[in-house]
Point group: C2
Chain length 204, copies 2
């Protein structure tokens, strides 16, 4: 599994107790709680207990905060498709690798992926992020089609609909998975793969 790359820019020196990364961690929570549109820089400042100018010391605008937060989800998701195990092996092995890796990113970057999945596309930054997300999704759909053509995925499923359903299952994790709940990330991954792959694999 690839180590998720750090995606924040070189940190600038901030006020005591906050650097860009911790500002980002608070910002993503406030965005998820109130929605990006309804969040003002004043609300973020209140949440951090600093002045608005202290936030502008870290990032030029609310849009930049959104862009940086979305990169925390998109960069590791995009990295999956570049990994050696996504490019070599049988189509069904590559599909399984991509699904397992996606589940891991969703759990590790839960608040950032939540933000990504709830985007409405009202601004250019949002639309660009949604296009990058669609591009990631398309890679999985294409692999599903390839795996079906290879005879590794059963012939009686429709690959696009099935991929949507599969992403529905995986993406639901950001809404209900709790790190302090009864299931470990490993158990969630194994259960999801057991259901998806054994349901999809062509029978001999």
């Amino acid at each position: 599994m690839p180590t998720a790359p750090k995606t924040t820019a070189t940190p600038r020196r901030g006020r005591p107790g906050y650097d860009q990364e911790s500002v980002l961690q608070v910002a993503v929570q406030v965005f998820n709680r109130h929605g990006y549109d309804a969040t003002s820089m004043g609300m973020l400042a209140d949440e951090l207990g600093v002045s608005k100018s202290a936030i502008y010391h870290h990032v030029p605008s609310k849009g930049d905060l959104l862009r940086l937060a979305l990169d925390e989800a998109l960069v590791p998701l995009e990295a999956i498709g570049q990994h050696e195990q996504a490019l070599t092996g049988t189509s069904i092995q590559r599909l399984e690798f991509m699904l397992r890796s996606t589940i891991r990113v969703l759990i590790e970057r839960q608040p950032y992926v939540t933000l990504l999945l709830r985007l409405r596309g009202n601004t250019e930054i949002e639309r660009q992020a949604l296009e990058r997300r669609r591009s990631v999704d398309r890679k999985v759909t294409e692999l599903m089609i390839t795996a079906q053509q290879d005879g590794k995925v059963r012939a009686d499923i429709e690959p696009r609909t099935t991929t949507r359903l599969m992403f529905g299952m995986i993406n639901s994790l950001v809404e209900w998975y709790r790190p302090d709940g009864p299931a470990t990330p490993q158990e969630v991954e194994e259960n999801a793969i057991a259901m998806i792959v054994d349901g999809l694999r062509a029978r001999d």
Copy 2:
């Protein structure tokens, strides 16, 4: 498949062009667009092009509108567990019947189920609806546990986590399924069941 029972109360005579059911159809759309908390009776009146008093002619309060709208989802979901096919046959057949029926209700009652799935539980009406939803979900979890004990569901999955993942897949339909899209309801149902049941069924 049971015919979904009509859940609206006996319609009172309303203004020309609107009865309680059509008020409900508009209300659920506005609730889903803006959120229940953020929706006022004035916004509903504007959307319907009538006065607030015309709405109060149909329902006493916003809370009653919410309760009626949630019943449009909950009553048919609760009916599934009472159907003969949910009570007879092998555990895996009953599970498949409940999943197929749930998918049908989600597609047929899409806006009402969307409202149900987005509830936050801020009011007593919401909390009661969430408790009814949990009760419906519990029936499926219990059936999954029974099916595993019967040896019909593979022994290496954790039934509660797997049920959550399965509901994640099915519930995602309300967010992405479009009646005018490429997949028919029947195709969605067959693809979901193919992935879920063949993945869950114990191998001989």
